[in-house]
Symmetry: C2
DNA sequence: TATGTTATGTGAATTTAATAACATGAGATC
DNA sequence: GATCTCATGTTATTAAATTCACATAACATA
């Protein structure tokens, strides 16, 4: 079933989006869907949808389409979301707080197993069922909760230090919200989420493209 | 100075990142930088940096490099950040709250001119210098504050409705944090930020690629 | 059971983006 | 002021991603 080709990251990105769209269809009781409907629903081309899925196997029925429940199950499995992943969030400021309560993190196989900060005014504060822990307890909780993924939600100035701590404690992947390139060993999976980049794409399009067309 | 070529969005994305890196260099008193140093600092190739800049003109000096202050100024100008942009954030939940206080939104030419919600328990709440406004005041404040960009920080179920409201009130660009594809007219610039996609790229890499190499 | 319809899966063609390689020119050195 | 060094700007090359187009197969219908 699983072909052994290099899968473009853009394909994985879209797979995640298809997957969430399928969840919605499923909740609405839709049982069958075509590549065209998925494409329409998420804003890509039908060929793109089929090509993306083709990296991983054949999931549809010619002349019919895809079974929503099945395809959802497959996409979740491909993304590794058929298992639960424990996360550690470091940084309990406004962003860390928002991430702790973010549904997208809590419903799709993710379990926030620890929130950490080194600011005494934040330690002990409750966020939902969680309590902000001092950074000193990071190693212990990572181990006891079997945490493999870390989320960095601290200011730029502290980000590298936190990344180092994560690497040192054996985390395998890092999601970094600080707008800075972090230095980590090659075997660590790291991705950055920069909240303002997309905003600046918008201003570029409004300002620059507008200026060009004059 | 401004060449008239289609600029890849990936280039604009990187430009935004270069720009922030240059800000940091400038704060640290660095006056000159090479494409190699920028590349190193943000995690791309030197050729990529030069290629990206070449879309917009010649900013460096051969044999020397780029003047940090000048290049920063140019990149900001290209991104449209030499002017101030007023934003409206709709949704004053945890995410909306975090965005209001997010430095990246507040320092680089952006001015949050209004936060809106329709939940009575949130209306009137203060977020920094802002006060959460009822959605009814959206048209009035958009007009008086000259708001051109809207940020959607509401749940999926309300996102399309909010987008419609933004379009109807003449906003030109939308940054959407709800994980759903929104329907807007072609002349509206829209970009989605999906907080969990990157997380799922990480789990894909940990789970799927790990399974393949077995 | 044959025929028509429909949507998949895929190989080829096209477009787009990234990398490599090099000619150019600015400044430094002697 | 001639020469050398260095990093840019740019062209050529390679690689990658997307789109196109169609053969294929499943189902429905008569």
């Amino acid at each position: 079933m699983l072909k052994t080709l290099r899968v473009p990251e853009a394909t994985v990105t879209r797979l995640s989006i298809y997957s969430r769209f399928l969840e919605r269809l499923d909740r609405n009781g839709v049982t069958t869907v075509s590549s065209g409907e998925i494409a329409e629903g998420v804003g890509v081309s039908p060929a793109q949808v089929r090509k993306d899925l083709a990296y991983f196997g054949e999931f549809g029925t010619r002349g019919v389409g895809y079974n929503v429940k099945d395809l959802l199950k497959y996409t979740l499995k491909i993304l590794g979301l058929d298992q639960e992943w424990s996360l550690a969030i470091v940084g309990a400021g406004n962003l860390g707080f928002a991430l702790c309560t973010y549904r997208g993190f809590n419903v799709r196989g993710f379990h926030i197993a620890g929130v950490f900060d080194n600011d005494p005014t934040r330690i002990g504060k409750r966020i939902g069922h969680l309590e902000v822990q001092p950074l000193e307890r990071f190693p212990e909780i990572v181990q006891s909760e079997n945490i493999r993924i870390g989320v960095i939600a601290v200011p730029i100035s502290a980000a590298q230090e936190v990344a180092d701590l994560m690497v040192k404690n054996g985390l395998e992947a890092i999601l970094n919200f600080a707008p800075v390139a972090l230095n980590v060993p090659d075997h660590i999976e790291i991705r950055n989420v920069d909240l303002s980049v997309k905003l600046e794409i918008l201003t570029f399009n409004l300002a620059f493209r507008a200026a060009q067309s004059l």
